[in-house]
């Protein structure tokens, strides 16, 4: 495949109307934003979520990011739904600008369910990420969001395990919504075809919905919410936390999805009179006393979920963790030179304000070179100067031992 990801593809405008996405393959319907892709900017193996999500095994991860084998791709959109940074987009996965008052029925193209209510048909409902469910629910207001659950997934090639690919995502969204205070009657719900609103049980014409790209869908939300989301999603953190050139040179990926989820859930919670969601589905990270503020973890973190803050007046370095930006890659725990980090996978945890300070390390100035270092045991010299001193001592011990080998001067009587 002589596909060059830098080459602008001919027809990119139709990729969900977002032209920053470049097609992975001229014949494929999957588009990638390389600047947001973890696999494209970090070592292979760090993030393979799209590859894992693909039911047809048509995505491979190369050094320059994911590559697509277009002949097997069904454009189901599950890769884009799994992408933690929103770097992938699949043509045809679109959401409505508004939800009609009668509500919305979501169905896949194979579904034969008949209903009077307006229907949004997608190639596969597995294309909807948790954030999409949250947004749809916010946009729907009091109107119901229903999923036509007619068992069509059982024989579908998009669901090799015969488990509906949307079900687990919907369950997470429902739990997240109710934790944020959404009343049960407003949660999106899966229904058998018989339970769907239908007056005459004939295969009614399905009301056409005006559909737009995801970003345009934002605009349909309330203006303040939309701007809050776009602020969270454009990586405002990345530009402000200018750890020198690091942020620019090896641009950390802004974890769009997590930041979006946080804004959406906060919005839902505040509109239902709660200060914040009761519990949230997030990973956890713990630092032990062994942490010596090397900062390797924060550099290895692809999304700047981890950040070592230095330069405080009190001479302390703080290792901060924003769980919303974490994509569970585990790079931090693997790289830590003192094995001080413990990464725990996603689970429902009580809401906590971010960022969390994992460790506070007192820093002092090296007497020799003036560099800031972690003065764990009241050392006067930084690690590098200590190393140099030890090297010098070892070197001279080595050289003088050779010297003593030959003459063997007797010491006293």
């Amino acid at each position: 495949m002589n596909h060059d990801p830098h080459r602008p593809a001919a027809n990119t405008a139709s990729l969900s109307g977002e032209d920053a996405y470049r097609r992975l393959h001229a014949l494929g319907l999957v588009g990638l934003r390389r600047d947001m892709c973890i696999a494209a900017s970090r070592p292979a193996g760090l993030c393979e979520l799209c590859k894992i999500a693909c039911p047809h095994a048509c995505l491979e991860i190369s050094e320059s990011g994911p590559t697509l084998e277009p002949t097997a791709c069904s454009a189901c959109g599950m890769c884009a739904a799994a992408c933690p940074t929103g770097a992938l987009a699949v043509d045809g996965v679109t959401l409505p600008t508004h939800v009609p008052a009668q509500g919305l029925v979501l169905a896949c193209e194979r579904s034969r369910a008949a209903t009077d209510a307006p229907v949004l048909r997608l190639a596969c409902l597995g294309a909807l990420a948790v954030n999409d469910w949250l947004r749809l629910t916010i946009a729907a207001g009091d109107a119901p969001i229903r999923v036509a659950d007619d068992g069509a997934c059982a024989g579908c090639s998009n669901a090799p395990s015969h488990e509906a690919p949307w079900r687990s995502t919907l369950e997470i969204a429902r739990r997240a919504l109710s934790e944020a205070g959404m009343p049960p009657n407003r949660l999106p719900v899966a229904m058998t075809p018989d339970a769907l609103p239908n007056s005459n049980r004939s295969n009614t014409a399905i009301a056409e919905l005006p559909i737009e790209g995801r970003r345009r869908f934002f605009a349909g939300l309330s203006r303040s919410l939309a701007s809050a989301i776009s602020q969270a999603a454009t990586g405002e953190r990345v530009s402000s936390s200018a750890a020198g050139a690091q942020a620019r040179r090896h641009a950390s990926v802004a974890a769009h999805r997590g930041a979006e989820t946080r804004v959406l859930l906060q919005h839902i919670a505040s509109s239902s009179g709660q200060p914040h969601p009761r519990s949230v589905l997030l990973p956890a990270l713990m630092a032990s006393d062994a942490c010596r503020a090397h900062g390797a973890c924060s550099r290895a973190c692809p999304t700047r979920a981890l950040h070592l803050e230095t330069g405080h007046d009190d001479g302390q370095a703080r290792l901060q963790f924003d769980a919303w930006l974490c994509v569970d890659c585990g790079a931090c725990a693997r790289i830590c030179p003192s094995h001080a980090l413990d990464h725990q996978p996603r689970a429902w945890r009580p809401f906590a304000d971010v960022p969390v300070v994992l460790a506070t390390i007192r820093q002092s100035e090296c007497e020799r070179c003036g560099a800031l270092f972690d003065a764990h045991e009241d050392e006067a010299l930084c690690e590098r100067c200590r190393k140099t001193e030890n090297l010098a001592r070892a070197g001279f011990a080595l050289f003088s031992r050779q010297h003593r080998d030959t003459p063997a001067v007797p010491e006293g009587p």
């Binding site: 970090r42 040179r249 030179p337 070179c369 140099t388 070892a394 050289f399 050779q402």
Partner: protein, 252 residues
């Protein structure tokens, strides 16, 4: 393929730091950040104190611990035995600096070693950490050569922009050979007492190989298993005594 290595004769070394200065000029380094320095160490008390020293370039180990810990494989070993950093891949995590037992790696972003901060006086274009008034023609981030960009780790590259152009099969890069002088690393070329030798360790007939076997070349911190490709000659330990005395007492 050659396996480049260096031999430093501590009997000859005067600790003059010309190598450090040459390195600084060749690699556009700031004062205090040159890839190679001379370590000084005092031992004993009056009336018999001793001042000792040895130069410390990157050891270009056969088993580089820095390379093994690098999460992005930015540090690599070339076919001709040189350990280099790909600045395009380096994320500046500094794990290699923790792993290196010789302390030869630099991360220069955090604090200016010398005031006023020269990086502010000569501001770098784009990604580069500074804009030296005396820059060399080479800029090769894939091999860690040239002006260092921000946010990466750097270290001695054995002047890879020079040695990689040497004719194939060269046994020794000898600065006294006019045909090879342009390929000799800056520190070797500039060494006034000619204490440094640079050549192919895999070639048993090269001068470096012969020096190591004849004069018992030793490697620093051999217990770490890193197997440096920089060898020190102590002339049977002469360098351990105060060096000026050594030079005076040296047998013809």
């Amino acid at each position: 393929m050659a396996k480049w290595g260096m031999v430093i004769d501590l009997e000859k070394c005067t600790g003059c730091q010309a190598c450090s200065t040459a390195c600084q000029m060749e690699n556009s380094r700031l004062p205090g950040e040159n890839y190679q320095d001379v370590l000084y160490y005092t031992e004993g008390r009056q009336p018999t104190p001793q001042l000792k020293w040895f130069p410390r370039p990157c050891m270009h180990c056969e088993e580089p611990s820095c390379m093994h810990v690098c999460p992005t494989k930015a540090t690599y070993k070339t076919e001709d035995g040189v350990v280099l950093i790909d600045w395009d891949k380096c994320i500046g995590c500094k794990y290699c600096m923790i792993a290196c037992p010789y302390g030869v790696r630099f991360y220069t972003d955090e604090k200016a070693l010398i005031e006023p901060n020269i990086k502010q006086v000569f501001k770098g274009d784009g990604d580069l950490s500074w804009n030296p008034p005396y820059k060399g023609p080479q800029q090769d981030p894939k091999h860690g050569v040239g002006i260092q960009p921000n946010g990466v780790v750097s270290k001695c590259n054995f002047c890879y922009h020079k040695i990689s152009k040497a004719p194939k099969g060269t046994a020794d890069l000898d600065e006294s050979n006019p045909e090879l002088v342009e390929y000799v690393p800056a520190c070797v070329r500039t060494c006034a007492p000619k204490a440094r030798y640079f050549g192919d360790l895999d070639n048993p007939n090269s001068q470096v190989s012969r020096l190591i076997s004849d004069k018992q070349g030793t490697r620093l911190l051999d217990h770490t298993g890193n197997k440096p490709q920089v060898y020190y000659l102590t002339g049977g330990g002469a360098a351990a005594a105060a060096v000026p005395g050594t030079r005076a007492n040296k047998k013809a």
